[in-house]
Amino acid sequence: MSLLFERYRRPLFSYLFHQTGQRVESEDLVQTVFYLMLKNRRTFSADGAFRAWMYQIARNALINSAKKGSRTVYQAEFPDHGTQLIEHNLEQDYEQNEAKIQLDQAIARLPADQREVLILSKYQELPYKEIAEVLKTTEGNVKVKVFRAIQELKKIYKNL
């Protein structure tokens, strides 16, 4: 289990962080997901299936958490996370911050399903087939959503 934790801690956190923008909440959800996987651990072995299963659990945990009214609901302004980002982007201009804010807002405006597919494809680098498994839909459906998300985001750059 510890090995799995080391392997999937960052991708799982990344998925949750992209969805919520909240660092503390995301870490708590990582704990919750691992707890749930521990509880139901007899179920999986193959790697591909495992990852899809993990993200399914993560999605459900996210949905339950939002239902309870805690602040894991998606925030329109996806935050920069303070000192960490400051370290990476010492060279970053104030103007680039503005571009980021625009990007965050555009992503926030996407319909939830498109945003989710985008995150899983771009940041978690899941193939469409696996995303389809996570979302319990068809690969074709996933492709359409990615396409639509990209079309929406194109508008940011057209407006500049």
Binding site: D80, L90, I101
Partner: protein
């Protein structure tokens, strides 16, 4: 002939004053241990004003006026020429420290990299003015005014008799903001689309807000004699806490 003498005299005077001015302001450039990482500035000042401006470089540039010993009675402060700026400054592992103990008075103008965290304490009098620095800031004053403009990150500021004015453009939304003063006014400007949970309290003064604050279900038991507004702006988000005893609170929308 007379004209020439005048010109020469004038030039000499200007040159003289220039050198005098130059010798009053001492400059010091501080390099960080690791210029690629963010840094922190800790200032503890017994008495004096501080102005800090963020810029695009990687070093901390300190310009100081003083130190002075307070004059006795009505006399003007007396300069202590035996001390250099570097006597008060140290750097270790990206933490730059400036400490000026009592009873010295010293004024600073400091340039820091744009991404920097500031912890500033002024123990008696002196204004604190921060511009364009993004980081986690703590500022504590007594009778001077605290002003932070064009900043983002988190701010915890408290003052006794002085005012606090913050013009905040938050890039990260999970950072807390807390401003408190006993007698001073507190002025906070935020972007119009900010999402926040606010708690504004004052004992003897007033609360004014440009924002609509959704206070949720009314009918909260209030045997308090203080004035308070607790609620959400734009649906809620990061925490904002403002308290005064005898000073007005103003919450404004940034232009």
């Amino acid at each position: 002939m007379k004209k020439n003498i005048k010109i020469i005299a004038l030039t000499v005077l200007i040159l003289l004053s220039f050198t005098i001015v130059k010798s009053q302001n001492r400059d010091l450039t501080v390099k960080l241990t690791n210029p690629l990482k963010a840094g922190k500035l800790n200032v503890e000042l017994f008495n004096g004003s501080i102005k800090i401006v963020g810029y695009s470089g990687k070093e901390v540039m300190i310009s100081a006026d003083g130190p002075y010993y307070p004059g006795k009675g009505n006399q003007k402060p007396v300069k202590d020429t035996s001390k250099k700026v570097s006597d008060f400054v140290s750097q270790e592992n990206n933490l730059v420290k400036i400490k000026v103990e009592q009873p010295l008075i010293m004024n600073f103008v400091i340039k820091v990299p744009r991404n920097f965290s500031l912890v500033i304490k002024v123990l008696t009098a002196g204004d604190v003015d921060v511009e364009k620095v993004d980081g986690d800031h703590e500022v504590s004053g007594i009778s001077g005014n605290i002003t932070l403009s064009n900043i983002s990150g988190s701010v915890l500021a408290n003052n006794v008799r002085g005012n606090i004015k913050v013009d905040f453009n938050p890039v990260k939304m999970d950072a807390p903001l807390a401003l408190s003063s006993v007698l001073g006014t507190i002025n906070l400007s935020l972007p119009a689309n900010v999402k926040a949970n606010v708690k504004l309290q004052t004992d003897f003064s007033e609360i004014h807000s440009d924002f609509y604050i959704d206070e949720g279900t009314p009918g909260q038991k209030s045997k308090n004699i203080i004035r308070r507004t607790i609620g959400k702006i734009n649906g809620g988000g990061s925490e904002i806490f403002i308290k005064t005893v005898g000073g007005n609170i103003y919450l404004r929308k940034r232009k």
